[in-house]
């Protein structure tokens, strides 16, 4: 006679798993804020990881930023020409790149490159018991692996976003310069003419939030990887998908909040 023991769910398997996942992600994030202010700070590892994040994405961000600048300028020019407003091109490009495209393009590239790399690295460490090995050696693996990586992405991604915006503006300038004579200084001056302190602050806050999201999601998925090598691939994939989804949600929320401040 078989003794069947069926697991009882509060709502259904899917919903129970969904809410358990949210609770576990919340606990993971809360643990980050608890550990981040405690000693030891592992500053050297934070710097190493920041360089890793920055250098890993620098080439791709340079190329993408440059192309975004050129393409956006090429596509905007005909519409502005119809209204005889081509002199507004630098301002339009400035608003689009500094307020939206620069931070968003950087965040999406980093979610793909850095988020997946963190997810796969920690996932692999988890399934090969390297995280347990740290724990039994009296080393806090959460502090050493998670806190340092989340801090690194939170620091490096805003810097990369700033760099991406400048490269995109340069790409745009190259395109503008090909059509009409203009100096790079006057182009940058016009691009920043319509940008105010709130716009810059919003962009910086956005990139800090994106950086934190990419780091914490990558670490959460990797740190909780199961099922061997298949679990590592799954962790890397989920780190990218979830981080990108959250970045878009955060974009909407932050823009909405910044607009409230603008018209307050």
């Amino acid at each position: 006679m078989y003794n069947y023991k069926t697991k009882k769910y509060i709502l259904s398997k899917g919903l129970d798993d969904y809410f358990t996942g949210i609770h576990s992600a919340y606990k993971f994030t809360a643990l980050f804020f608890k550990e981040v202010f405690k000693r030891p700070f592992h500053l050297r590892e934070v710097i190493n990881q920041s360089f890793e994040v920055g250098l890993k994405s620098l080439a791709l961000i340079s190329l993408t930023g440059f192309i975004v600048g050129i393409v956006f300028t090429k596509q905007s020019r005909p519409s502005l020409e119809d209204f005889g407003a081509t002199s507004w091109l630098p301002s339009l490009i400035g608003i689009a790149i500094i307020k939206a495209l620069g931070p968003l393009v950087t965040a999406l590239i980093c979610a793909g490159k850095v988020g997946s790399s963190i997810g796969a690295e920690l996932g692999s460490m988890k399934v090969t018991e390297q995280i347990d090995a740290m724990e039994v050696s009296a080393i806090n693996p959460f502090k050493y692996l998670v806190v340092t990586r989340v801090l690194a992405t939170t620091i490096a991604i805003p810097v990369l976003a700033l760099y991406c915006s400048f490269v995109a503006l340069y790409g745009s300038y190259i395109n503008v310069h090909a059509e009409e004579t203009s100096s790079i200084i006057s182009f940058y001056q016009n691009a920043f003419k319509t940008i105010n302190f709130l716009d810059i602050t919003t962009s910086v806050v956005k990139t800090i939030v994106y950086g934190f999201t990419i780091g914490i999601v990558g670490c959460y998925k990797g740190y909780n990887a199961t099922q061997g090598t298949r679990g590592v691939g799954k962790a890397a994939n989920q780190a990218v998908v979830l981080a990108m989804f959250l970045i878009f949600v955060e974009e909407v929320i932050i823009v909405q909040i910044s607009n409230w401040f603008r018209y307050f």
Binding site: E121, A133, S137, A138, I139
Partner: protein, 258 residues
């Protein structure tokens, strides 16, 4: 300090004392009432089939898993009640050798060995760390591999480096999880010799989890035979296998191909 004091229990010569230990994962009952003592300076080999809960037992001893029920006293302290710095302090006195070695694959051998030391003792000079690394790498006989990455090492070499990494913290207790699994007989014999050398030279007490009877016979001062989450027998090798129990006879016959 008060909290520390309450964990100190006087158990004569026992470094590990386990009473009525139970552990389940969901509906799956893994450990079903384990009673066990490890004496100071002694090696106990825990034998049993895969999936009988041997690795769970040592993960509970080192505090990686919490028991559902029962008392686990290690070096005079209740492991399940320790947290934070107290748990870390106890873990520094225990070495854990993982089944797959668990070497940090982003670090070379030197960095792997130095890592536990530099992370736990921040005030050590580079020379002190280097000396400590050289001492343990010599103890496992792989001095020429210091600059290599774990991926460049053979299975047996990785096991040795894994053991060296635990020795660098000078543990009082060693826990070996399947030290000879996946190794050829000659490399297995070398690992067995190393386990015995560690017991002698570092004066450790050890629990050796294995399903390899040769390893158990040659490393264990006592053997614990585990079946379905319980110890069927605990004693000297010949006493344990002098039995009519079919399961144990089957295990013995398979290992020695009689």
């Amino acid at each position: 300090m008060e909290k520390l004091k309450q964990h100190i229990i006087d158990k004569d010569e026992s470094v590990i004392s386990i009473t009525g230990l139970y552990k389940s994962f969901g509906d799956l009952e893994v450990l079903k009432g384990i009673d066990f003592n490890l004496l100071k300076g002694e090696n106990v080999a825990v034998l049993g089939k895969s999936g009988t809960g041997k690795s769970v037992l040592i993960k509970i001893i080192v505090g990686l898993l919490k028991p559902d029920k029962g008392e686990v006293v290690v070096l005079g302290k209740h492991v399940d009640q320790l947290q934070g710095k107290e748990l870390d302090a106890m873990r520094l006195r225990i070495g854990f050798s993982f089944q797959n070695s668990a070497l940090y694959d982003s670090m070379n051998v030197y960095q792997n060995l130095a890592f536990p030391l530099t992370m736990n003792f921040k005030n050590l000079s580079n020379k002190e760390v280097k000396d400590a690394v050289e001492e343990v790498i010599e103890a496992v006989g792989l001095k020429e591999k210091l600059k290599q990455m774990p991926s460049d090492l053979s299975g047996g070499q990785r096991k040795r480096i894994g053991i060296a990494r635990t020795l660098i913290l000078k543990p009082e207790i060693m826990l070996y999880d399947e030290p000879t699994s996946g190794l050829d007989p000659i490399t297995s014999a070398e690992i067995i010799e190393l386990i015995n050398d560690v017991q002698r030279e570092y004066n450790t007490s050890s629990v050796i989890i294995t399903h390899d009877l040769t390893c158990a016979k040659n490393t264990g001062n006592r053997i614990a035979m585990m079946f379905e989450g319980k110890f069927l027998k605990l004693g000297k090798f010949d006493e344990v296998f002098d039995t009519d129990n079919e399961q144990m006879k089957g295990f013995f016959n398979y290992n020695f191909i009689q």
